[in-house]
Amino acid sequence: MSENFQEALTLMAVGMLTVFVILLLVVVLGNAIIMFVNRFFPETESKLSNTSPPGQVDRKHLAVIAAAVSVVTGGRGRVLKVEKEG
């Protein structure tokens, strides 16, 4: 058996072992993170995401207007406020 082939066998063993260890770690760490999050920060998503205020119905229209304004102004204009007239 050539020396290169010997080296290749070692590589295979080290390589597959490493890949398995790392993906095992992915599973273990993933579970640890989930347990940590579930225990200490359950359902606090609203704090981190500051995007969606109430009033879902009007948002659709707002979105259309915003899209229009944004494209027309080359992304520089922004819709700051939209009020109904009546």
């Binding site: 290749a8 390589g15 490493t18 790392i22 095992l24 770690l25 760490l29 993170i33 999050v37 579930n38």
Partner: protein, 403 residues
């Protein structure tokens, strides 16, 4: 008369006589364009590569990448980029500035990360483990290639095609055997595009009808998972940071790839506060990188480099690596099922490749053929995404031990 002589001198016909391989390479370029355009095999890569091949082989155009020997100076120094650009033109400038330095693959991985959603994997973490088995093709073909006479570095670059991940294959090849960059990149992207053909082929050879019908949702009902994720958003923010640190401790040489992947993922998961960065990473940066990567990889395939027996070996070996990886994933699940009450559909092993999300989609359609209510997509995505990590880790091992 004098004018016609000058004219003939200027054209490429004079040099064509000395390089008959050029016509063959033009044919290769046309085939790649055909695959990219008419067959829609990864057109984002194959069209630039194909065009790059054509440009590079047209004699006299100076668009082919020159051998690294030509930029090597005495005293172990190299020509600088200004000299390379001035002397050898735009393609060599791109190649030596962006490719040979190993710059673009991590940059593309940053974009890939910003497009990746680890959610499906976090929801089915156990399945991530099967992304490991699907790397066996890499090392099997490495063994075989060495037996066939490839150097270990060349064999490693060839094997990595089995990881089913274009940027990883390119990065590994740049580090280990840059003279094979062209054919390996093409094999990697072509087989990725052929996933809809190769997965069913291997799966049908190794799986029983009963196995195709294993319904993951039913199994989940029978044996429900331990815990639900109560704050997915936070979990998805913590995951790339912590995984980055741990992977880096174990396989430092995979950091350029995996570190950038996880960074890209982090700026995506943070939402609006860093969306400017994520948009740049997935938009202008990634698209520009793709154009330059494709053209420059194509430009490495000059006839004197490409038209060798090795190229054929790479095309055959790459296919084997791919198929063995799929088989490895399937067999790993089958082995697991022997010992577990909760059964797993072996297709989830088959998607332990990278090729996200195409592999998962193909597996899903395959499962639906056998049972039209058996949606396995989300489960496949778990091993599919972990396959990206798996092959980057395998690449890190190869680079650290062979470079």
């Amino acid at each position: 008369m004098h004018i016609l002589e000058e004219l003939y001198e200027m054209t490429a016909f004079s040099s064509l006589g000395q390089q008959p391989g050029v016509l063959l390479m033009l044919l290769v370029g046309f085939v790649l364009l055909y695959l990219g355009i008419a067959k829609k095999y990864e057109p984002l890569l194959l069209v630039p590569i194909g065009f790059g091949v054509i440009l590079a082989n047209l004699p006299g155009g100076g668009m082919g990448v020159v051998s690294a020997d030509l930029i090597h100076l005495p005293n172990d120094r190299y020509m600088n980029l200004f000299e390379i650009g001035s002397e050898y033109g735009i393609m060599n400038y791109l190649y030596y500035a962006l490719i040979k330095t190993g710059f673009l693959p991590p940059i593309i991985f940053m974009g890939v990360g910003a497009l990746t959603d680890f959610g499906p994997m976090l929801r089915n973490l156990r399945l991530a483990f099967f992304g490991a088995a699907a790397q066996i093709g890499i090392f099997t073909v490495l063994l075989g290639a060495i037996a066939m006479g490839f150097t270990p570095q060349e064999a490693g670059s060839l094997g990595i095609i089995g990881g089913a991940d274009g940027p990883t294959a390119i990065y590994t090849t740049i580090m280990l055997a840059p003279h094979l960059l062209g054919p390996i990149a093409i094999a990697a992207y072509s087989y990725m595009a052929l996933v809809p053909v190769i997965i069913p082929l291997v799966a049908k050879a190794l799986m029983t009808k009963k196995e195709f019908k294993i319904n993951m949702k039913q199994q989940d009902k029978l044996y429900p998972p331990k815990h639900k994720i109560k704050n997915l958003k936070l979990a998805k923010i913590l995951f790339p940071i912590i995984l980055g640190v741990v992977v880096a401790f174990f396989v430092p040489s995979s950091v350029p790839l995996l570190g950038m992947l996880l960074f890209g993922n982090l700026i995506k998961e943070l939402g609006s506060i860093t969306s400017r960065l994520a948009d740049a990473a997935t938009g202008p940066i990634m698209n520009t990188a793709t154009i330059f990567l494709g053209l420059a990889v194509g430009a490495t395939m000059t006839h004197d480099v490409f038209l060798k027996g090795q190229t054929l070996g790479i095309i055959v070996g790459g296919f084997l690596a791919f198929a063995i990886s799929i088989a490895g994933g399937i067999l790993a699940v089958k082995a697991y099922n022997l010992f577990s009450k909760k059964k797993i559909n072996p297709l989830i092993g088959a998607t332990g490749l990278s090729a996200v999300p195409m592999a998962s989609r193909v597996a899903n359609e395959l499962a639906l053929k056998y049972d039209s209510s058996n949606h396995v997509l989300q489960y496949c995505m778990a091993s599919n995404i972990s396959g990206v990590i798996g092959s980057a880790v395998a690449a890190g091992v190869l680079i650290s031990m062979l470079q």
